[in-house]
């Protein structure tokens, strides 16, 4: 009897130590398997594919660097890069300052109803880009659209009621920037607000004692305090902007818009890869996008580091 119990206990112990040893491998294995098949393999395959011309998934011809050569000579691609860059520019230099401004307004100690304001500013982010696209394509219509009505009431004749936001090549980008401003300002504000609340309160007290004015305090206490988060938000926002697709695709009726004013890099990728069916060419577009975004991110990290050195 006793030896039986000891045997059972011994077996239990080995099972117990075995499962302890192999548990972490078991726990990460579903992730590793799915990730290898549907993450790593496609990344490797897209590198290979980018040297092929394909017609759908069935026929492939090796073309070397031709995809990349053609890419930079294609006026559509150049236009897409330009449009996307303009959009990204406004995301960083218009939207982020606005987000920071909102966060600063909300970060006052005496502020009542902060949660409610935060909820209001954040709420557009809950709506997906497709749904926002459908909603704003109606808000932007000439004559009856809410945007024209409101702007006409405020600005009078300079914004006529029949302003054709989505049919005028010069107004497509402003319409897209406005829509994304509406959608994402509150999203980035949440990050800034969290960062502001984490800044050491003693630093503000010290600045007050030293007789710093509001602007000096902002420059020398607030900005350095939120810098890591600010750099993070800037990089994420740039990466997100370069992937712009749904908003123009939906708002412009599944196309690039008048005079290709709303053609973006991902829209170009989608059209060449999945409408025309050249998966190889689409891979080349994808890698060009990835490398471009990586270079811009590295530049931003470096530039913000230099900015830190200059301010100290």
């Amino acid at each position: 009897m006793i030896s039986d119990a000891a045997q059972v206990k011994g077996r239990r112990l080995t099972w117990f130590s075995l499962q302890h040893k192999y548990a972490p491998y078991l726990f990460v294995s579903p992730f590793v398997v799915v990730f290898a098949v549907f993450g790593l393999w496609p990344i490797a395959k897209s590198l290979i594919l980018s040297f092929y011309a394909t017609n759908g998934p069935k026929s492939q011809v090796f073309v070397g660097l031709d995809n990349f050569r053609f890419l930079f000579r294609d006026a559509d691609f150049v236009r897409a890069v330009w449009n996307t860059s303009v959009f990204a520019f406004w995301s960083v230099f218009l939207q982020l300052p606005l987000s920071l401004g909102l966060a600063l307004l909300l970060n006052k100690k005496w502020m009542r109803g902060r949660e409610l304001f935060r909820l209001a500013f954040f709420s557009p982010n809950l709506l997906g880009q497709v749904f926002v696209g459908v909603l704003f394509s109606v808000l932007f219509i000439p004559q009856y659209g809410l945007v024209n009505k409101a702007l006409h009431a405020i600005a009078g004749r300079s914004v006529p009621l029949d302003t054709k936001w989505l049919a005028d090549p010069n107004l497509v980008m402003p319409a897209l920037v406005l829509t994304s401003l509406w959608m994402y300002s509150g999203f980035n504000m949440v990050y800034f607000l969290a960062a502001l609340q984490a800044v050491d309160q003693e630093l503000y007290d010290a600045a007050l004692v030293d007789g710093a004015n509001g602007w000096q305090t902002f420059l020398h206490v607030t900005l350095p305090g939120i810098k890591p988060v600010a750099v993070f938000v800037m990089i994420m926002s740039t990466i997100g902007s370069f992937q712009l697709f749904e908003l123009p695709y939906i708002m412009l009726g599944n196309g690039p818009g008048p005079d290709r004013a709303g053609l973006t890099i991902v829209m170009y990728l989608y059209n060449t890869g999945f409408v025309t069916g050249d998966l190889g060419y689409a891979s080349a577009v994808g890698w060009t996008l990835a490398l471009g975004v990586l270079m811009i991110s590295l530049f931003q990290m470096k530039a913000s580091g230099a900015w830190k050195g200059a301010s100290e």
Binding site: H20, A23, F31, Q129, V138, G286, L289
Partner: protein, 275 residues
């Protein structure tokens, strides 16, 4: 006295500014709500709410197209993805937070590296792969490539790192297997992160457009974003019906957000501030 007055003025101005900006922000949503319940004749007659409340747009939506089907498809796909991603992400996050094992560093580096690569890079080869597996136009092909969420694993790793080791050791001494330690110790204390992750994951899937657009062909399987995009041309002059469809498409996420709001904001900013 003068200083007091100035301070008060600043406060009033700040509130006024915030209220003005908040009003601009919620106006499109109020308009959407109003438009969905307006009689088609009233849509542009009244800027916002009309005195006649009408359900005609919704009736139109459910009778002329199979909108219910798209709703059910979206709910099914999104809930499946949330459950699968939640399980895989928390399990892997647990392993990466609380164990030392061979290859851990390699896994982490690979995860970080791929987070830098935009998802669109792999669209073409992923489609080719799904095509060769014969999974085009199936929910398996739609869901499985997104079954793991690298961002989610990082979120869970971050929050599980803060669970004290003593708690796990106590469970082990009581005879808990590692999986039971995960299930009975780690998961219950990770509830805020689970809430945040469910919302992030649900939102991502519910609103996703590009991959479903590539993979799904038969309209019986369409999820809401693709279906609504098709309705735009169908209802090109029936804005009311279109707005009713848009309202129903955004409502589930808003409801879920109201339920999980606190957890969500905490989870969203956790990585950014601590990291």
């Amino acid at each position: 006295m003068k200083r007091e007055l100035l301070l008060r003025l600043v406060r009033v101005a700040t509130y006024a500014m915030l209220i003005f900006l908040a009003a601009i922000t919620i106006t499109p949503m109020i308009w959407l709500l109003a438009a969905a319940f307006k009689n088609p004749d009233d849509l542009f007659h009244y800027t916002f709410f009309s005195p006649r409340v009408s359900l005609g747009n919704f009736v139109d939506l459910f009778t002329t197209v199979d909108f219910m089907r798209y709703l059910i498809n979206s709910v099914f796909v999104s809930c499946t993805v949330v459950v699968v991603q939640l399980f895989f992400s928390s399990l892997a996050g647990f392993a990466l937070a609380k164990y030392n094992f061979r290859g851990k560093k390699a896994v982490m580096i690979l995860m970080l590296a791929t987070m830098m690569i935009p998802g669109q890079v792999v669209m073409a080869p992923l489609y080719e792969l799904i095509y060769k597996m014969g999974l085009v136009d199936t929910y398996v092909g739609l869901i499985v490539p997104g079954a793991v969420n690298v961002f989610g694993i990082f979120l869970f790793r971050q929050s599980i790192l803060q669970v004290p080791d003593e708690l796990l050791d106590a469970a082990r001494i009581d005879g808990c297997s590692e999986f039971r330690a995960y299930w009975n110790v780690i998961m219950p204390v990770s509830r805020p992160m689970i809430g945040a992750f469910c919302l992030i994951s649900f939102m991502g899937t519910w609103n996703s457009f590009l991959w479903p657009q590539i993979i799904l062909q038969n309209s019986d399987r369409f999820t809401l974003p693709i279906a609504l995009n098709q309705l735009v041309s169908l209802y090109s002059h029936q804005y009311g019906t279109l707005m009713a469809g848009t309202l129903l498409s955004v409502l589930p996420v808003i409801v879920l957000f109201v339920i999980l709001q606190k957890e969500f904001v905490a989870g969203l900013t956790a990585g950014a501030v601590k990291g």
